[in-house]
Symmetry: C2
Subunit: 406 residues, 2 copies
């Protein structure tokens, strides 16, 4: 029987190094302009500056009374009127106060705001307690104290979350330059794999990798999920699929066929299709055969081992990292640490992703599993902890939830 | 001037108690049926059982050779054929082996699989090393070892993430009962609030609360975001808006007008509209005036203080908890713990949500802020840590990222 030549492993001791090598070869996609109300969850591609100071004028920080300092010696002060919140401030009287509410514009000449709960409020006047201490400027938020006009308030490269959306609205940014969504496609290989809706013989399995990848990435707002194609384990047919897919996407995922078996056509077919291999095989479980590469057009290419849990674990860590880079996100994904409440003494000479489920804030427990084909156990997990070679115990360990965050 | 009667605070020492009281009064929304490929991110409303054992027959765990134990005494065994992966297994010969690949159906009569790397492979035969130890059943995944036919493999109440999607596909669940999306609406009050696209005077602010809530909830797959209405600070007009909104939604958010100022019409207007108040004012910063209630149709009602950071922090914690209950999610949101690298010695006699940004795995740093109106600082944060009254230091503390997870 003919054997294909072995591809040299690139020999990264730590999968994180392989990720760094891949990311260094990827570039952000193009940009487009969107109305702000449609840009939530997308990646900002331009710095945003304040169009006016924030606050735009001196405003009251509380409900109370605008006062002049010189008037405070009087124990009683008439209420001369009211600042209409959202309206132009009236002139500040002398020897009297103006009622003001949180966010109201401080009238020119007013030197402080006295909170209403510090005074005795009458209908027409307020009484100041004898021991009331009022600092000049108290309860006044000064014009520009949050941001000056022209100051960059948001840097590009961030995902537009609630706080960014609020800041964009505040500075009147109604049209935004954002990165377009990363076009992501998946090819599922494996002659034994049937579509989920198919009637199956006992020796067939329904494809779970396509649905898993769709669920993981289909809802990410900065990803355009192009869906799954099924490819048979034939090198020539596979090459055509790969070439076709690379012409349509920014990132290509392939599941299965990446080990060194006779039917594992993916590594050589990728090379034939002009894809540059960056790493193949990493010291990790699951996902040892993982292959990372860059396409002729700079596409991110990740060939994932075909076992379902291998697909999910490698997609969650490696594919997410690659997609973030393609999407224009400038910061690495940061992950929380969790402690394992039912830690055992098992250890591996590999970087080990172990399935866990949440049991409390900052605490997880290991989910028993029969290996990378055991989808039922994976479905009982909330994510995995990453345990370095030779280590064991409660941790804390980095935790990757299945759900992809911003 | 007329003063409205004070509403009695309900006096929860811990905001978590108030959340529990609110959740106890909320019920999941109705269910609907969806094709599985459109159900990612939704909440499963039925238990899912295995339609066949998993694996559905004995399958090989590796690439190798199917053998009979009695034949292993021979040092050399002819290769009689091959198991086509995805095909029916051939009959198992005696005195010979069959080539088999990962996932291939183990032929009846085969008693173990010997990995190809353990033997010397020739074209027509394999040589077994003299010291090769083969255990009966090795490298065979047994029918049903992951799940038996009829076994519940997924319980209802979970968000359909990648692992659940994989499990659903594996058992052939192509049509699913899921909870319908939670209809969420927001009313933004405040006469000083202009729409984001409006030209604004210095004493006006553009509304940032509507965009913040839209960004926080608009992309959550189990939420149907009905958008924002702006309401002026007039009790009668507000009551009409509240009544109208309650007729259309499962959960209603109101921002602003919830303190005890003369213009804070929300608490009393809610009562007039038949909404039952459960708590008002909690010992927390920001968000002290927060009001939680349940509408006449069982709607979750949360009136958030109007300051932008108060809105974001209370929405992230309280609204998310309420929406999860309405959505049919059966487990509480669990949160990671982080350490604060630049902890100071400040402390408050309140439950304190402090803005932080990620600096490394499991580590955050405090973001300097000028208070709950300081949107620019909030935009530099990734979320907040929750610090109990009187406490300070590195933590670890519970961390709420702005992005709402599954």
């Amino acid at each position: 029987m003919t054997r294909q030549p072995a591809i040299t492993p690139f020999g990264y001791d730590d999968p994180a190094e392989a990720i760094a090598v891949l990311l260094a070869r990827l570039s952000p996609v193009d940009t487009e302009t969107l109305p702000a109300e449609r840009a939530a969850g997308r990646v900002l591609a331009e710095p945003i500056t304040a169009d006016r100071p924030s606050p735009a004028c001196d405003v009251s920080a509380m409900d109370g009374y605008a006062v002049r300092m010189a008037d405070l010696a009087n124990g009683s002060l008439p209420i001369a009127g009211e600042v209409i919140t959202g309206g132009a401030p009236p002139a500040m009287p002398s020897g009297a106060v103006l009622r003001i509410f949180t966010g109201g514009a401080v009238p020119p000449g007013a030197e402080a705001v006295v909170p209403r709960e510090h005074v005795d409020e009458g209908h027409d006047a307020i009484e100041l307690p004898g021991d009331l201490a009022v600092q000049p400027g108290q309860q006044i938020r000064r014009v520009g104290e949050n941001a000056q006009r022209g100051e960059v308030v948001i840097e590009p490269g961030c995902v537009i979350d609630a706080t960014i959306a609020a800041a964009l609205a505040t500075v009147g940014a109604v049209s935004l330059r954002v990165y377009r969504r990363v076009k992501l496609k998946a090819l599922v290989t494996g002659d034994e794999v049937a579509k989920p809706q198919a009637a199956v013989e006992p020796w067939q399995v329904r494809d779970s990798n396509g649905p898993a990848l769709g669920a993981m990435f289909g809802g990410v707002p900065w990803v355009e999920w192009l869906g799954v194609e099924h490819a048979v384990d034939d090198a020539a047919l596979l090459e055509g699929r790969i070439t076709g897919a690379l012409g349509a996407c920014d990132a290509l995922l392939i599941t299965g066929g990446v080990s060194m078996g006779d039917r594992d056509h993916v590594p050589h077919t990728l090379a034939t299709a002009g894809v540059e291999l960056l790493f193949h095989k990493l010291p990790q479980r699951p996902g040892k055969p993982l292959l990372g590469a860059v396409g002729p057009g700079g596409q991110a290419v990740l060939a994932l081992p075909g076992n379902p849990v291998s697909v999910m674990a490698t997609a969650r860590r490696f594919v997410v990292a690659a997609l973030r880079k393609c999407a224009g996100i400038t910061h690495d994904e940061t992950v929380g640490l969790v402690e394992v409440t039912n830690a055992d003494d098992k250890t591996l000479p590999l970087h080990w992703s172990r399935l866990v489920r949440w049991v409390g804030d900052g605490e997880v427990e290991l989910v028993a599993t029969r290996g990378s084909g055991d989808i039922a156990s994976a479905a009982r997990s909330d994510g995995f902890v990453l345990i370095p070679p030779g280590e064991q115990g409660r941790g804390p360990w980095p935790f990757y939830p299945w759900r992809v965050g911003g």
